[in-house]
């Protein structure tokens, strides 16, 4: 299976992308999409990307739910800060977070989560020390952010990309 269809997740993604773009479930498009997905998978073997193994669908759904809720909540928080109705003295700064996560896809997912939630920004990841640096717009407590990233996101990402 892996030889016939390398990077099966990426292939499935390409297939879905093709059908969505063409907005069709006609047999012709399914066939064409399948061919494109297979060609894409084979092309990726040339790049020699590390293989991604994703497990625990429930963890993925749980994480997606958390992230959507956090995005809406932090949008509102940043909205209030910009409009000047946050009502307290604000301080922004950097927070160092030691991570256990080493999987490149897991880290990429974490980068998407952190930049997608307004108010937090991915600054740097020191791969040698395994320390992530983020910038927080409304920094009240460093420790609180460490707990949020580690407890809320990293734990689930470790489960997904175990």
């Amino acid at each position: 299976m892996t030889r016939l269809l390398p990077y099966s997740l990426m292939c499935a993604g390409l297939f879905g992308l093709w059908l969505l773009l063409n907005q069709s479930l006609a047999p012709g498009h399914i066939l064409l999409g399948g061919l494109i997905a297979m060609a894409g998978g084979w092309a990726l073997t040339r790049v020699e990307l590390p293989a991604a193994h994703v497990r625990r669908l429930t963890a993925i759904l749980h994480l997606s739910g958390l992230v959507v809720a956090d995005i809406v909540r932090s949008n509102i928080a940043v909205l209030r800060i910009i409009l000047g109705v946050a009502g307290h003295q604000r301080r922004s700064g950097f927070v160092d977070i030691p991570l256990e996560l080493r999987n490149p896809y897991g880290l990429a997912a974490l980068a998407c989560i952190i930049t997608s939630t307004p108010g937090t920004l991915w600054v740097d990841f020191d791969a040698a020390r395994g320390v992530l640096t983020i910038h927080v717009l409304d920094l009240i407590d460093d420790e609180e952010w460490r707990c949020t990233v580690k407890g809320r996101y990293e734990k689930l990402l470790l489960e997904i990309f175990a």
């Binding site: 969505l20 907005q23 949008n75 939630t117 600054v123 640096t133």
Partner: protein, 117 residues
């Protein structure tokens, strides 16, 4: 504008509401880009537009065209997916360039050193 007449009122209202929400959130993000103090604070602001702003406008598009054509029209979803995947790349490049320069100029010891920038 013959097509809008066929749109049920509640769909039109929902679409308008979501469009307005997305536009307002994006506008506030743009205002934040002007108003916030330091570079690191300013780069936070546009992410309002790339998250909730884009999502609301894409949702409005999906609802409106699904109602007009009487079938699910979901390809606007791809806009949200690709913006979510690509935003971190450009933001990271900007921020790392800034922190590299600040470190070289000695304004910043190292990102993460306990002094607030």
């Amino acid at each position: 504008m013959t097509e809008t007449a066929e749109l049920p009122a509640w769909v039109a209202a929902l679409t308008a509401l979501l469009l307005l929400l997305g536009a307002v959130v994006t506008l506030v993000g743009a205002v934040g880009l002007l108003r916030l103090r330091s570079f690191y604070e300013r780069v936070h602001a546009p992410t309002l537009g790339t998250t909730l702003g884009t999502a609301a406008i894409a949702l409005a598009s999906m609802i409106c065209f699904s109602a007009l054509e009487g079938r699910p029209v979901l390809h606007a979803l791809l806009i949200v997916v690709f913006i979510t995947i690509t935003t971190p790349v450009s933001l990271m490049i900007l921020v790392r360039a800034a922190s590299l320069r600040d470190k070289a100029e000695g304004k910043l010891q190292a990102p993460g050193a306990d002094s607030p920038a």
